[in-house]
């Protein structure tokens, strides 16, 4: 019983982490049609900023609060300088963002000296529920993920900014004709996606420690999750992320971990082949 509960929490918290990482990836893929290979490096940047704040003697949570904004700013600048040249060709966008990711990753590798660096959890200890103990910080991540997910959904479906974003996605020409500045919207959307990645990086760095390949580790899982969920909607990638995250965490309990990893990918690709539109089809929030 206790074991089952611990396993369940493990699955839940890993699922939440994947959802958090995929949120930004999914928004950029769905709203802009770009598979951003540099997304993993935005996660890394978020983690690095948190580490930097911590090593300067600031409390960890300050770094975590600042990271999304800084990474969002970086995303906005990069979109203006580079990414907007890639909109016409999705494959070129993949390669271009890959190059960008390579630059960021290797820069961080140089800055950290290729070491594994630890950042302490801002909320340490564990929560005791009778006989079970669960990590307080992992629990916090789950809570924050749920809050961020809700906030993103409200932002895209209920606010005028969300309306503009969706209008730009649906019909850029008409959106421009209606007086919406589509380049600005694209820039803001990309920055928003980057900021979410930065937040994810900042939150997970105490769990995974900081190293240069932190982002790439999640990137492919993220892409698969987006495809499973379905490109074009907000909720699709999130659901895909939940499924992939839960499966990745749950399968190692059932079969050997080596095969579990491979099995998840094979299953996911087979699913996408059979149902290319993903879990949730169509363009909606």
């Amino acid at each position: 019983m206790a074991n089952a509960f611990v396993a369940l929490f493990e699955i839940l918290s890993f699922g939440a982490i994947i959802v958090l990482i995929v949120l930004g990836l999914g928004i950029i893929a769905s709203m802009m049609g770009i598979f951003n290979f540099a997304q993993g490096e935005f996660v890394l940047l978020g983690a690095y900023i948190t580490y930097l704040g911590h090593s300067r003697g600031l409390p960890v949570w300050i770094g975590m609060a600042v990271a999304p904004f800084l990474v969002g700013l970086v995303g906005f600048v990069l979109e203006g300088l580079l990414i907007r040249r890639f909109y016409a060709a999705p494959i070129v966008a993949m390669l271009g963002t890959y190059a960008l990711g390579l630059i960021i990753r290797e820069t961080v590798r140089g800055l950290t000296g290729g070491l594994y660096l630890t950042v302490p959890e801002p909320i340490g200890g564990s929560i005791d529920l009778g006989t079970f103990h669960i990590s307080a910080w992992r629990f916090t991540i789950v809570v924050i993920t749920i809050l961020v997910m809700g906030a993103c959904h409200v932002l895209l479906s209920r606010t005028s900014f969300g309306l503009r974003v969706r209008a730009t996605l649906e019909n850029p020409a008409l959106a421009r004709a209606s007086g919406i500045s589509t380049p600005l919207i694209y820039g803001a959307t990309f920055a928003f996606g980057a900021a979410l990645a930065g937040l994810a990086g900042a939150l997970i760095v105490p769990v995974f420690t900081l190293f240069a390949d932190l982002g790439i580790r999640f990137l492919i899982q993220g892409f698969v999750a987006v495809m499973v969920g379905g490109v074009g909607s907000f909720i699709g990638p999130v659901m895909g992320a939940g499924v992939i995250g839960a499966l990745s965490a749950a399968l190692p309990w059932a079969i050997t971990p080596v095969l579990a990893d491979v099995f998840v990918f094979v299953l996911a690709i087979a699913f996408i082949k059979i149902r290319p539109q993903g879990l949730i089809a169509g363009k909606r929030v």
């Binding site: 892409f223 095969l259 990918f265 996911a268």
Partner: protein
């Protein structure tokens, strides 16, 4: 015989017409190919031994890059997992040498090629064929995922050596002769590269290649002409996988070492870099790109090991933004990149007369 002489006379007469001269621009591609071949054949004679070993590696990687160029540059399939075939073949021949003690070149190279071919048929058939044509993105991510999954499998599976891979593979043999690294291995690799290059060149300049060019430029129109676009793609993908398998088995015996990176994302993206740098869809560009990237990396890695990947990223970004056709497009025109198909004007006139 007569017709031939007449044709030459016709061509000589026609040489005066300006339109004809525009139709026959100087061919640069054969010059590049010839220069490359000459340079490659004298390399072991002028270089120190340890540089010959490095040059061998470049030649083998160029063979690998050729496979990716065929798949991406000619069929428009973004194979982000080309290393899957390269590395699996490498692992396959390494296991043959380790467990079954088979190192004869006449067995291991064909088997390596077959491993690449078989995997490419499986993966390509699954990703590319089917009732609905697959999107470019799906194929790109599917191949990437395949390579990543293989990487994880290689890392975790004890039989394959896990994280450390399989080291000290016994050398490839022919009878009692052992191919050690050095000039002999170099010329072996170069010979195979030339053969495969000529084969690819024949393939892309044949009628099949014409259909491929159409596929790359406008897939829908080719489909309307009645070609089975997906089948064409699957065939090219399979050929690419076989070539990658050949390169992988050569590489494994040359490095006497296979490790999980070789099947994974690292090497997959590396080959993309080579081809983008050199220029996709030219074959020669893939070879040039490999030589430039590997050469630069070799030269810079002594003093600038840490910043070299950053420089590589910046250069790649610049090439993508300003030279989408790669470095070779500085000397090679668009017309020659696409190539000429069907009858030349000379032959046409013969047919008419």
């Amino acid at each position: 015989m007569n017709a031939n002489i007449g044709g030459e006379a016709d061509a000589m007469m026609a040489a005066g017409e300006p339109a004809e001269r525009a139709g026959l621009p100087r061919k640069i591609l054969p010059i590049i190919e010839g220069l490359l071949l000459i340079a490659a054949s004298v390399v072991p004679l002028v270089l120190a031994d340890y540089l010959t070993v490095f040059a061998t590696r470049v030649v083998i990687l160029a063979l690998f890059a050729l496979s990716f160029d065929l798949v991406w540059g000619y069929a428009g399939i973004m194979s982000f997992g080309q290393a899957l075939f390269f590395g699996s073949a490498g692992y396959g021949v390494a296991l043959l040498a380790r467990d079954l003690d088979i190192t004869s070149i006449l067995v291991v190279l064909p088997i390596g090629t077959l491993i690449g071919l078989a995997l490419a048929i499986l993966l390509g058939g699954f990703l590319l064929l089917g009732r609905q044509p697959s999107s470019v993105i799906f194929v790109a991510l599917g191949t990437l995922t395949g390579a990543y999954a293989a990487d994880r499998l290689g890392r975790g599976w004890y039989y394959l050596g896990g994280q450390n891979g399989i080291a000290s593979i016994s050398p490839m043999t022919f009878g009692s002769y052992e191919f050690a690294e050095g000039p002999v291995y170099y010329y072996l690799a170069l010979g195979l590269l030339v053969i495969v290059y000529l084969f690819c060149r024949f393939l892309v300049r044949s009628q099949f290649g014409l259909a491929l060019a159409g596929l790359r430029e406008n897939e829908q129109r080719i489909a309307f002409f009645g070609y089975k676009a997906q089948h064409l793609k699957a065939i090219v993908f399979t050929v690419g996988g076989a070539i990658a398998g050949l390169a992988g088995s050569l590489y494994a015996f040359h490095e006497v070492f296979v490790w999980p990176d070789m099947v994974g994302v690292v090497v997959s993206t590396q080959v993309v870099l080579y081809v983008l740098f050199g220029g996709s869809g030219t074959l020669a560009g893939a070879v040039v790109g490999t030589a430039i990237v590997e050469g630069l990396s070799f030269w810079l890695s002594d003093n600038y090991r840490n910043i070299w990947p950053i420089i590589l990223g910046v250069l790649l970004l610049l090439v993508i933004l300003f030279r989408p056709l790669g470095l070779i497009s500085f000397v090679l025109g668009e017309r020659e990149r696409v190539g000429r198909f069907g009858l030349t004007s000379k032959e046409k006139r013969n047919a008419a007369s």
